[in-house]
């Protein structure tokens, strides 16, 4: 089983933080060299993995700004909902970021050479006095300090009447999908003024609305297959070859609800909050409020594995409903070999489940507990009396501290955990990549820098 060790903790020094600093998206690049985070203030921070194994800030930019829709008198939040990296084709890196209404394609590139010796401008950029120019020179490229720039390449706007909840890049690297509550659109990465609608759940009469789309994702290998989950607890697999509008699903993954467990909140806790294909493409991981399920794409009527993340909350659903916690959308993740799944919980706990051995572990991501190079101790939540001193009782769980966003490196055992405004990066102690720097790394999150040179 993994023994995670803290290798980087990137967080604000002060415990007080503003709402805008809360991390709302975490995503590793396809190679794992970069890690992008988005926050509620619309900023994106990109970290790069150093040769020693640590992640340091690479670039920061403001991706989305708050907007106002004058027609509908609605404010559009700048919160970054999802980030997805494109596969790398050249030296530049491309990523898609989205808020509730607009998707943007960013290019992040390095510049380490600068042209010098202009004829008309001097070194500071001021125009030279023409009468003083006597000869012609050819500008040459000279090395400079590394500069990382993020430039906006495409804006995909005005295609969604409802709030965008997910984006997913197709394996063909040319198209991607964006999903809102009722519709899924297919885009070409180069074309911003049109998109194709491939799923439309909007009923003729909105009064008959019974379900919304919660997450959509393309299959990792088959460019014609995509999956989307709904608020009713079902996940559908659609084949885009069969027809242009994929309202009819090819497969429907739904488990019958145990009638003994019915309560007022049964519908809410069955709503799927995240869907992830396994790297192999054979399995689907879905997360609902209390559990995580692994589905085999070949079997629709029940999952092959069900993992209870925090079933002790089942008796507290009413309290969680009052505090709105029951609407929290937890993400889930596979490891590189699809042998372990991970998801977040409350009290800054996150859980990992080993599929083969059926062992699971609960770990905590918090400042007090995480010291550099110290192995994380497994935690336990107990319902009744504490059996061990380190146990945490259900009643003392802090529901304001929730780990909604987690990401796993595509190949290595490195995980990124977002806890409010803090980002924790853990590495497996036994990983052969693990070399830890001696100094304790603590950085302020750069507030408004356009480019942050690496240290």
């Amino acid at each position: 089983m993994l023994s995670p060790v803290l290798c980087s903790e990137l967080s604000a020094l002060e415990p007080e933080y503003t709402e805008a600093d809360v991390i709302s998206a975490v995503e590793f690049s396809q190679s794992g060299e970069f890690l992008a985070t988005g926050d509620k203030g619309g900023r994106v921070v990109i970290f790069q993995r150093e040769p020693l194994g640590e992640y340091n800030v690479y670039s920061t930019f403001q991706s989305h700004e708050p907007e106002f829709d004058y027609l509908k008198s609605l404010e559009i939040e700048e919160k970054i909902n999802k980030i997805r990296w494109l596969p790398q084709l050249n030296s530049a890196h491309f990523l898609l970021t989205t808020n509730d209404k607009t998707i943007k394609l960013w290019k992040v590139s390095e510049r380490d050479k600068r042209p010098e010796g202009y004829n008309l401008k001097d070194e500071e950029g001021r125009m030279k006095d023409i009468s003083k120019i006597t000869s012609l020179q050819v500008p040459v490229l000279r090395p400079m300090d590394l500069l990382v720039e993020a430039s906006l390449r495409r804006v995909f706007a005005n295609a969604h009447a409802y709030h965008i909840n997910s984006i997913s890049i197709n394996s063909d690297c040319e198209t991607y999908l964006s999903a809102d509550d009722l519709r899924i659109n297919l885009w070409n990465l180069d074309i911003t003024d049109r998109s194709f609608n491939i799923v439309d759940l909007k009923p003729e009469n909105m009064e008959e609305l019974s379900e919304v789309i919660t997450v959509a994702e393309f299959h990792p290998h088959h460019c014609h297959l995509m999956a989307f989950s709904s608020s009713t607890g079902t996940t559908r697999l659609c084949d885009m070859r069969s027809r242009a509008l994929c309202d009819q699903h090819a497969k429907l993954f739904e488990e019958a609800v145990d009638p003994a467990n019915r309560s007022f909140f049964s519908e809410i806790i069955s709503s799927v909050s995240d869907v992830k294909f396994s790297h192999s493409g054979r399995y689907l991981l879905t997360r609902d409020y209390l559990s995580a399920k692994v589905w085999d794409l070949n079997m629709e009527n029940k999952p092959v594995e069900t993992y209870q993340v925090h079933d002790y909350l089942r008796s507290k659903l009413c309290t969680l409903y009052e505090s709105d916690c029951i609407f929290d959308k937890f993400e889930c993740a596979w490891n590189g070999t699809d042998s372990v799944i991970m998801t977040g919980a409350y009290n800054n706990f996150f859980r990992m489940f080993d599929r083969a051995s059926r062992r699971d572990v609960t770990l905590e991501a918090s400042r007090e507990v995480c010291k550099r190079r110290a192995v994380l101790r497994p935690r336990r939540v107990c319902v009744g009396r504490k059996k061990r001193e380190s146990d945490v009782s259900v009643d003392s769980l802090d529901f304001r501290k929730k780990i909604l966003h987690t990401a796993w490196h595509p190949t290595d055992n490195i995980i990124a955990i977002a806890a409010s405004n803090n980002l924790y990066i853990f590495q497996d102690r036994h990983s052969h990549h693990g070399h830890h720097a001696g100094h304790r790394l603590e950085q302020d999150r750069p507030p408004q820098l356009q480019d942050a040179p690496p240290q």
Partner: protein, 293 residues
């Protein structure tokens, strides 16, 4: 009873959430509001099913006294009019026969309809997709009332109280219409206070008098009666809602007068808001109150 309190609380919390979602940043979140409305609906179903079983037990005593009064009047009327007697006495007998059976929750519904006309009417404007089996079962019951055979009110599932109340109300109104006619024929102006408000609903009662295709009539009536009954029951509607929803509703009342303008604006804007409004109107029978949203 615990379920009733719990359901009541959950309903008020849900309404508060829906109300707050209008003012939060970023616009109405369709997903969250859909889930909240589902909770609101299930809580309401539990609450109403419990409501009837609770209120009926109390109503039985008051109702019995009312009918005693009416019986007394009827006895005075007997020598005066013999034509209208059979139907009225039949009704009295069957109603009286129903009263002793009141203790059982299902069978108190007919008497409940007389006792609290506002409440069943509210509940009646329930989801339009009521099952067809229930109205038919109750129609048989009401036809048995008319034919003065043994009153064997079928015991439908308590989870469909709206439907039963509707049918029961219809059957009792039929009787009441007759009894009203009987009394007015004698020039007796005595009418039970509640019959006055019920008399406005003679229109709807007559519509459903025929037993052909009961399901269709029921649905049509409920949608037609929606408007007129809503207006009539405005004040009683609101006062009932206050008791049901407690403090979370008081803020809504004060804003209700100022809200209508805002409501029309908002109903034109935002697909998320439109569907939210429409969803609420569909799910909640108390349309006047929810207009405030």
């Amino acid at each position: 009873m615990e379920y009733k309190v719990e359901a009541h609380r959950i309903m008020s919390i849900s309404l508060g959430k829906i109300y707050n979602s209008r003012v939060q940043r970023g616009g109405i979140k369709l997903h969250k509001n859909l889930l909240v409305s589902l909770v609101l609906r299930s809580a309401r179903q539990v609450y109403l099913s419990d409501y009837y079983s609770g209120v009926c037990l109390n109503a039985q005593h008051v109702e019995a006294k009312e009918w005693e009064l009416m019986d007394g009047d009827q006895e005075k009327l007997i020598p005066a009019s013999e034509d209208s007697l059979p139907s009225s006495t039949d009704c009295d007998q069957t109603e009286a026969a129903e009263v002793p059976e009141a203790p059982q929750p299902e069978e108190t519904l007919p008497s409940l309809a007389v006792e609290g006309p506002e409440d069943p009417c509210e509940a009646v404007e329930g989801p339009k997709d009521t099952s067809s089996s229930e109205p038919q079962a109750e129609q048989e019951g009401s036809s048995s009332v008319d034919s003065t055979s043994d009153v064997s009110v079928p015991s439908p599932v308590v989870s469909e109280p709206e439907c039963e109340a509707k049918q029961a109300k219809v059957s009792s109104l039929d009787c009441e219409t007759d009894s009203n006619l009987a009394m007015s024929a004698e020039g007796n102006s005595h009418q039970p206070p509640k019959a006055h408000s019920c008399s406005n609903r003679k229109r709807s009662a007559e519509k459903t008098a025929s037993h052909d295709s009961p399901v269709k009539r029921t649905k049509v009536t409920s949608s037609n009666a929606d408007e007129e009954e809503a207006e009539e029951m405005d004040t009683s509607n609101v006062s009932n809602l206050i008791t049901i929803f407690g403090s979370s509703f008081s803020g809504l009342l004060s804003k209700e007068s100022s809200e209508p303008e805002a409501e029309t604006e908002e109903s034109d804007s935002g697909s998320g808001q439109i569907c939210c409004d429409q969803m609420l109107k569909n799910l909640n029978p108390w349309s006047t109150a929810i207009v405030a949203f």
